[in-house]
């Protein structure tokens, strides 16, 4: 579980007080390729008559029509709400569960196979079962998202806590920090870089499950929107759904990284400075 990196977003901004020119250069470097690719997409499809690859311009117009004019944005709101609640539950259970497993050795040994089974079990395979248990409605979506996002966080929490240097625990005992203070001042922050990595993996899983769960037995959400478009053979409409989902996914990813870089400032700065 260690050695997992899930983002290429730059760790530190250009070192020191970079001049304006340099910052412009950095922005240009990161922008030219996406812009070029969008440009290629635009011109390659400009005169497209294939029903599957409509012109990009048409897709953009359709996106505005569908999501703003026709009010499909409510689907995004529903999706995000389910994601938020499910993810929050999943991550909380993951951290608390991971801490418990770290603390309770025998429990860890005992439930290890079950946890690994649930972790590697492709969560979408549980969809039919979830319908049977939770019925139809947001509850099922939330439950599935929560269930899927527990495991990466839980396992990373456990791994992170087990990976804390024994010298740091000796230090805590030497300073007589006591149980709770050791947990809040040493165990949690010490494992936090890996907990964050787990939470990021959980977010990815959560978004996937958000979409999958809406593609089966749902009546709202982005996944529902895309699947409905498919059933209507409304390919352009489907493209708009994919576009919106890509935007949301990217935005959530960057948001996560943004928050993580601030909360774990000590970790990224110390790493950038070369000490452990």
């Amino acid at each position: 579980m260690t050695r997992v990196t899930t983002s290429l977003v730059p760790t530190v901004r250009a070192r020191g007080s970079s001049t304006g020119m340099r910052r412009v250069g950095a922005v240009l470097t990161s922008l030219w390729l996406p812009v070029l690719l969008v440009g290629i997409w635009w011109f390659a499809t400009a005169n497209s008559s294939s029903p599957f690859f409509p012109p990009l311009g048409d897709i953009l117009v359709e996106t505005w029509n569908q999501w703003v004019v026709l009010g499909a944005w409510t689907n995004a709101v529903v999706s995000l709400r389910n994601l938020f609640i499910g993810y929050l539950f999943g991550v909380l259970i993951g951290i608390v569960g991971g801490s418990l497993l770290w603390r309770l050795r025998y429990l860890r040994i005992a439930v290890n196979p079950i946890i690994y089974f649930l972790y590697v079990l492709p969560a979408p395979a549980l969809l039919p079962a979830m319908i049977a248990i939770f019925g139809i409605g947001d509850m099922r979506q939330i439950a599935l998202i929560a269930l899927g996002s527990i495991w990466p966080t839980l396992l990373n929490t456990l791994d992170g806590m087990r990976g804390i240097d024994t010298v740091k625990f000796d230090t805590a005992r030497g300073l007589r920090l006591g149980g709770w203070r050791t947990y809040t001042r040493l165990v949690l922050p010490g494992a936090s870089p890996q907990i964050a990595a787990g939470m990021r993996a959980s977010l990815t899983v959560g978004i996937v499950l958000m979409v999958v769960s809406e593609m089966v037995a749902a009546n709202s959400g982005i996944g529902f929107f895309i699947l409905q478009a498919q059933a209507e053979f409304a390919i352009k409409k489907m493209w708009t759904g994919i576009l919106v989902l890509a935007l949301i996914g990217t935005a959530l990813n960057y948001l996560f990284v943004f928050v993580e870089r601030r909360v774990l400032r000590w970790y990224y700065r110390s790493r950038a400075l070369g000490s452990s």
Binding site: I136, V216, A217, A231, E232, F233
Partner: protein, 315 residues
């Protein structure tokens, strides 16, 4: 049609031997395909120089696009799918029906309400939650139309996409108030006290076929004899299955991999006329226009000449 057909023709028909003898046929497995399996079992397709490779595929949209991309030679779709696909620029053509035309006493698709919901007719669906196998499917359209005719506000009906197999359970648990179902699943729902609201197709599609085998325009252009041979074989199979329903039912045991008991309860339009006509396409187009919320989609549907959706040889 069929200009330069090879000389050593082994098949019948007027156009010569099929250009392609092995066909990939995508179906959405159900007992409605009894005539198809009957035809295969009795060697009717073989007589026409055809060998069929049946591919089960639950997603009709995937079948339609598979036809357009050439993955499948022939594939199942309802009339609603065929019309929608063409309105969206995907050129598929209906070449034959899978089971014959709908009759006055059709016992196919049925709308059932749960006992607890208190719904007794289509008007009662207003504001309720209804399970359907596909959101923009044939079943949904007919249910909307019937509800509309009964005076319900169709926009207030909440749809949930569910496979037939789960509808009975969803009705029983109260997850949905009503479901548009197929046999044999409908039996479970009715046995659990479900209320039969009506047979959707009986009201709207009598004497016209709604369940179709389709292919792409380019396949027709390149393999006219094959298409003809398939259509002929299918028509013969439908007639044969009508004459020997028990044999046709038995053919399902191996074909669909179901039990003898399930096969005995198989249903299709036994005795339906195996010919296509444009009525179903016009009704479907009108329903789609009526219930479309999207202006551009509506315009495309209005501009669609439904006769282009059907292979001329089928009419």
């Amino acid at each position: 049609s069929g200009g330069g057909a090879p000389a050593d023709a082994g098949g019948e028909g007027d156009g010569g031997a099929p250009e392609k003898s092995t066909l990939t046929v995508a179906i959405n497995p159900s007992t409605q395909f009894a005539p198809l399996y009957y035809g295969i079992q009795e060697g009717i397709f073989e007589e026409h120089g055809l060998e069929l490779e049946i591919t089960p595929q639950t997603d009709i949209a995937a079948i339609v696009s598979g036809l357009a991309s050439g993955t499948y030679d022939i594939g199942f779709a309802t009339v609603v799918h065929a019309v929608t696909a063409n309105a969206n620029g995907i050129p598929i053509r209906a070449i034959t029906t899978i089971e014959g035309q709908i009759q006055e006493d059709d016992e196919g698709t049925v709308t059932i309400a749960s006992a607890e919901s208190g719904i007794t007719d289509f008007a009662g669906l207003e504001g309720k939650r209804v399970a359907t196998v596909g959101l923009s499917s044939h079943n949904t359209m007919t249910m909307w139309e019937l509800a509309d005719r009964a005076g319900a506000d169709t926009e207030s009906i909440e749809l949930v996409q569910l496979p037939f197999g789960q509808m009975a359970a969803a009705l029983a648990s109260g997850d949905v108030d009503a479901a548009i179902m197929q046999w044999p699943f409908a039996a479970d729902a009715l046995a659990a006290g479900g209320v039969e609201l009506g047979y959707n197709n009986r009201e709207l599609f009598v004497d016209t076929a709604t369940t179709l085998f389709n292919t792409s325009q380019s396949f027709i252009d390149q393999n006219p004899n094959t298409v003809r041979a398939f259509a002929d074989a299918m028509a013969e199979s439908i007639v044969g299955a009508t004459e020997n329903p028990d044999v046709a039912k038995e053919s399902l045991i191996e074909g669909l991999g179901i039990t003898a008991e399930q096969a005995a309860g198989a249903r299709w339009n036994i005795g339906g006329d195996p010919a296509l006509n444009l009525d179903a396409f016009e009704v479907a187009r009108d329903l789609l226009v009526k219930f479309s919320t999207d202006e551009s989609a509506k315009t495309a549907l209005e501009n669609l000449d439904v006769s282009t959706v059907v292979w001329p040889g089928a009419l």
